[in-house]
Amino acid sequence: MEQDKIIITVVGKDTVGILAKVCTYLANNKINILDISQTIVQGIFNMMMIADNTNSEKEFDQCQKELDQIGEELGVQVKCQKEAIFEMMHRI
């Protein structure tokens, strides 16, 4: 895909240190965070990050697996997707 931007979403019960853990992982892997927003929908914590993994040495699917693992440890769902799908669906 042309764009290197990725979207990381965290969905689940709010606990201490979710942001810290995810951000540490991204920093360690040279993934730059461009934007963060969060909201509570029907009592569930939703966070979204737009990040740039151009300089990351790790393969995209490896990041996906490791973020998934971090999510499991925190008891939340962490997803990592390419931005293209959201751009395609919500922008003409």
Binding site: T9, I50, D61, Q81, A84, I85, H90
Partner: protein
């Protein structure tokens, strides 16, 4: 920049409302495999398919992971085998060898279905086409993944009634050989009027002769997404209803467009079309009938169903057409019975009859699909049902199809189980008055007057 609500919306569509890409179908031309030697031709067919499609499944899985949307099926369609095998097949058994070759190739590349064991006989049948049709009971029974379609009519050619009569008998034979398995081989066989060359959906997919050497076609789905969107506009006007369907269809189709473009780029194979479809599965919440209920019907089949479906089908097209650069295939709402829990429920309770389904096929894509009927139904009656459906397609210049399962040994009140995506179905009653004398006339029904547009 994308905002959090848009991200949540997309991910909810997938996680909660069954949004998926139903199929990436790779169309492969086998015209360059034609050979007068049966073995040689089979060998070339196998090699062409396994070479062209070797990365199909891996590419599909890769895209699925990256964008986070399931791509349920990866499939292949090929040039109608009646053309490919015409110069080397001397008897129906020779055609069966091609079915085995297709089945083997499908297994090697890991696709779950392969379509194109087909014959296009809308005006007349060549010897080869007749042999292929006669090979169907054996070919479908001895293979697992091969799908077959026969085009029996078109607006331009009229309806080939000799072929309609033959298909009535063949469908019965196909049912008979698989009677131990609820006559399930019939699921892999569909007859068409106005069959499209670029349909990505099974069982009717084949790679038409008008197509390029290889092409990527994508079929999207999303009845659950439309249903959920409509829940929010209960009681609102038709204008609001239609706008909601259009917007949802646009989003769903965009996913298909992205997948098609990505697959095309990664495999180095041109992008053909996106099929704008609402294709249900037996999963709860993935039903077209539920959309009809959400529009305002107690059950699919109630008075108003045809109008509601016409509206739905039209809005899906209007919303989808702008979302994709090329649209084709069947495009519209599918109304299979066994693959849609809402349709199954409606048929069980008696709200939905074969006749109502026939009316519904006038206003949506495809036709009488995945309908189980009593095994004792006469071949001529099946031909009569097919002829009616073909006439609807011919006169309305649209694609219609019949995929009907006469479940041998079962009758009204019984149920057939197909499993997986194919679901289960109650046996529906059939009008038993005879049409023998009509079906037994020879020849074809001429093309309708409005086909002469030159």
């Amino acid at each position: 920049m994308i905002n959090i609500n848009e991200v949540i919306e997309t991910n909810k569509m997938v996680d909660e409302h069954n949004l998926d890409v139903r199929t990436i179908t790779l169309g492969i031309s086998l015209l360059d495999c034609i050979d007068s030697d049966l073995k040689e031709c089979n060998k070339k067919v196998f090699e062409k398919i396994t070479t062209t499609a070797k990365n199909l499944v891996a590419t599909g899985n890769e895209i699925e992971k990256e964008i986070g949307i399931p791509i349920v099926n990866k499939r292949i369609s090929v040039t109608p085998i009646s053309l490919v095998g015409a110069s080397c097949c001397k008897k129906p058994e020779d055609f069966v060898s091609f079915a085995h070759t297709l089945d083997d190739a499908a297994k090697v590349v890991g696709v779950n279905l392969i379509g194109g064991f087909s014959a296009l006989v809308s005006k007349g049948m060549t010897k080869a086409e007749e042999m292929l049709i006669k090979s169907l009971p054996q070919a479908l029974h001895e293979t697992d993944r091969v799908c077959s379609s026969v085009n029996l009519g078109s607006t331009k050619t009229g309806i080939n009634m000799d072929a309609v009569r033959l298909m009535g008998e063949i469908i019965k034979e196909v049912a008979e050989v698989s009677k131990d398995n609820d006559s399930a081989d019939c699921m892999k066989l569909v007859v068409f009027c106005n069959a499209p060359d670029d349909n990505p959906f099974m069982a009717g997919a084949f790679h038409g002769v008008t197509e390029a050497d290889a092409i990527i076609n994508v079929g999207v789905s999303g009845p659950g997404v439309v249903k959920t969107a409509l829940e929010k506009v209960r009681g609102e006007s038709f204008e609001v209803l239609c706008e909601t369907i259009k917007k949802t269809a646009f989003k769903v189709t965009r996913v298909g467009q992205l997948v098609a473009k990505e697959a095309s780029e990664r495999m180095g194979i041109p992008f053909g079309i996106v099929d704008l479809s609402l294709a249900p599965t037996p999963a709860i919440g993935d039903s077209v009938a539920d959309i009809l209920c959400e529009i305002g019907l107690e059950y699919a089949g109630a008075p108003g169903t045809t109008a509601a479906l016409a509206l739905l089908n039209d809005q899906v097209k209007k919303g989808g057409v702008m979302a994709s650069s090329y649209v084709g295939g069947l495009s519209g709402a599918f109304i299979p019975v066994s693959e849609d829990q809402g349709m199954i429920d409606a048929a069980k309770i008696g709200a939905l009859t074969l006749e109502k389904l026939e009316a519904m096929t006038c206003v949506c894509s495809v036709g009488l699909d995945m309908i189980a009927i009593p095994g004792k139904t006469k071949a001529t009656t099946i031909s009569g049902i097919i002829a009616d459906e073909m006439a609807i397609g011919m006169v309305n210049q649209k694609t219609t199809a019949v995929r009907i399962i006469p479940a041998i040994g079962k009758d009204v009140g019984d149920q057939v189980e197909f499993g997986g995506l194919f679901g289960y179905a109650p046996i529906m009653p059939v009008n038993e008055f005879s049409c023998d004398a009509f079906v037994n006339r020879k020849g074809r029904i001429p093309a309708p007057i409005h086909s002469f547009k030159n």
